[in-house]
């Protein structure tokens, strides 16, 4: 079983996003990028599958600059190979174009199971896994947990409305958007990551992407805040009193 995990780096929200208010552009070069947390879960789920069943795990990132550390970290955690897709890409490359690049690569280099984070902060609707599946004509599911192999089929859970979970099965190859791994993503010690940087190489694969239908981002802006939060000051007693009176005022407590 060959597993491919799609990873990307996203702006770090601990630091503020840097926005040029006049032009409505995000200043990518002035922001710090970190691995998307859902992708961390996809990597973890892949490694757990590997532990159960001897699969081979490859992590992939579109080379938008500065993805090396992310890939070496995945290797330090236990991934077998890391691929960097190279071409005409940068931090502002659209998800549509990234999906096309990944699809080109997978067409030439087949995998049985393709995992990705269900979404990313710059891909809230989780387009990448869905588009990769669409472009490759593969089955796809989103918001997936608990992925297990059963012979040459893949079993996994998906959340439905009304508190229902479904267990689904699919033939391979299949693309899954992972909501959360079975266990919290593991820690890669810095010594191990640094050792990987010395002892392993990231495979660089050149991909050419044709013109794809894309949307144009006209501007980014901060929504105007509607309403205000009330900050409650004082010692514990005063704060508790104020909370109780708010709950009463708004009829939020019974009796």
């Amino acid at each position: 079983m060959r597993i491919l995990v799609l990873t990307k780096s996203v702006p770090d929200l601990v630091e503020e996003l840097v926005l040029d208010e006049d032009s409505g552009e995000l200043l990518h070069d002035e922001m710090t990028y970190v691995p998307s947390e859902w992708d961390d879960h996809a990597v973890e789920e892949a490694l757990l599958i590997k532990e159960d069943s001897n699969a081979d795990v490859t992590v992939l990132a579109v080379d938008t600059g500065d993805v090396d550390n992310m890939l070496f970290t995945a290797l330090a955690k236990g991934a077998d190979r890391a691929i960097k897709l190279q071409g005409d890409f940068d931090l502002s490359t659209s998800n549509r174009k990234r999906a096309q690049a990944i699809a080109h690569y997978v067409k030439e280099n087949p995998y049985d199971l393709i995992l990705s984070g269900v979404q990313a902060i710059d891909d809230i609707d989780g387009q990448i896994p869905a588009m990769v599946a669409g472009l490759l004509g593969m089955p796809h599911a989103s918001v997936v947990t608990d992925v297990r192999l059963d012979g040459d089929r893949v079993h996994f859970h998906q959340e439905y409305g009304g508190g229902l979970q479904a267990e689904l099965a699919s033939q391979t190859p299949v693309v899954l958007g992972i909501q959360a791994a079975r266990k919290p993503p593991r820690y890669a010690s810095i010594a191990k990551v640094r050792q990987m940087m010395k002892s392993s190489v990231l495979e660089e694969v050149e991909v050419a992407v044709e013109e794809v239908p894309e949307l144009e981002i006209r501007r980014f802006f901060k929504p105007v805040a509607a309403g205000h939060a009330e900050m409650i000051d004082g010692d514990a007693e005063e704060v508790a009193e104020r909370i109780v009176s708010i709950l009463k005022e708004r009829n939020l407590v019974r009796g």
């Binding site: 601990v14 820690y187 810095i190 010594a191």
Partner: protein, 420 residues
Amino acid sequence: MQKAKSIELEVAVVNGIELPGHWNRMFEPRVISEYDLSVLDQVTSIPGAESLGYCYQCGKCTAVCPVETVGDYSPRKIFRKTQLGVSLMDSPDLWLCTTCRNCLRVCPKEVNMIDIMPAVREQAVLEGKAPAELLTAFENTARYGNPLGEPPRKRTEWVKSAEVPVPVMSQVKAPVDVLWFVECYPSYHPRGKDASVALARLFNALGVEFGILGTEEKCSGDSQRMAGEKGLFEMLAEHNIKMLSKYQFNQIVVTDPHAFNAFLHEYPKYGGQWPVQHYTQFLAPLIDQMHLTRPLNKKVTFHDPCYLGRHNGEYEAPRDLLKAIPGLDLVEMGHCRETAYCCGGGGGGMWLDSFTRDYTSQRLSEKRVLEAVEYGADILAVTCPYEVSRFEDAVKSTGNGGRLEVKDIAELLAYSAELI
């Protein structure tokens, strides 16, 4: 295996009488063969952890280990459990030692937890066995350069409240006398920042030519090293040394005893060799120039930080400074100087509070606060950035709010010099 250094004499001459020591079986580590020692061997084969095997169960450490007073813990017990086959790597015991160094002070066999703990923990971290909250602190430090997970860009934000010049080296184009290594808690923690503001004003009042690294500074990493993340420590050390090397200064002054320890003993191994002083050492000779005019008519007791006192032997500078404040009545607690109790923050303890709670009856900081109250102190003076927040929480949780204040020595000095 490295042999234990025997401290007993083979022959002693007392009043001209020769006393042979052959009856004393403690010259060499005793080989205890009745046990399956494979688990112990596994631990003592880790470089740095050899000395655990030297333990001859005298129990001296049990009497002084702070963790023992709130739990069931000491190097003697760790040796014994490991000897009996309990894996230290999988035991919560591995994360309870605060590397306070009190056991090493009394151990006749030099069983050295300061080397054993980081070595075994490093292995446990590699095997994915470290507590999750500790890993979060590691991840934060790796990503943001501080264990609190605060934005690196905001590292100098405290400077605004100082209201005095705090030059950042990248903007100062000239050499300075003192490179002030501020560290993380003094940069980000609200109470840590209070001490930084106080110190900045003292430096200004004294006319010290100083500069800080600002956003070029990252955590010194010493506690992460003791907690088992040596790789992270090395990365931080390399970064800080590279940044420091860009500038010209005569000496480094640190706020944090853990950074002091790193600059004294560890950074030189990576090529970073500069004269370094803890700020109390730097200020003590300048007492006469500080204009300590405003009296502080309070009973004050001082908590010796493990990494300033026991680890690095400085007990006087903080006391000299406190005694110089008019009206201040300095009382010593029973556990002081080399026997000082530990606040529980060292060796990674700062990031293991929830974990530790399950294995101890009380926080070490609570124990210490109760001792300060017992001695009738109005103020518990501290000089390590981990302590203000730990002790203030402990004052509240032990129901002593309003009875005991916790203040950094820098705050007390700035108060007396009418700078805050």
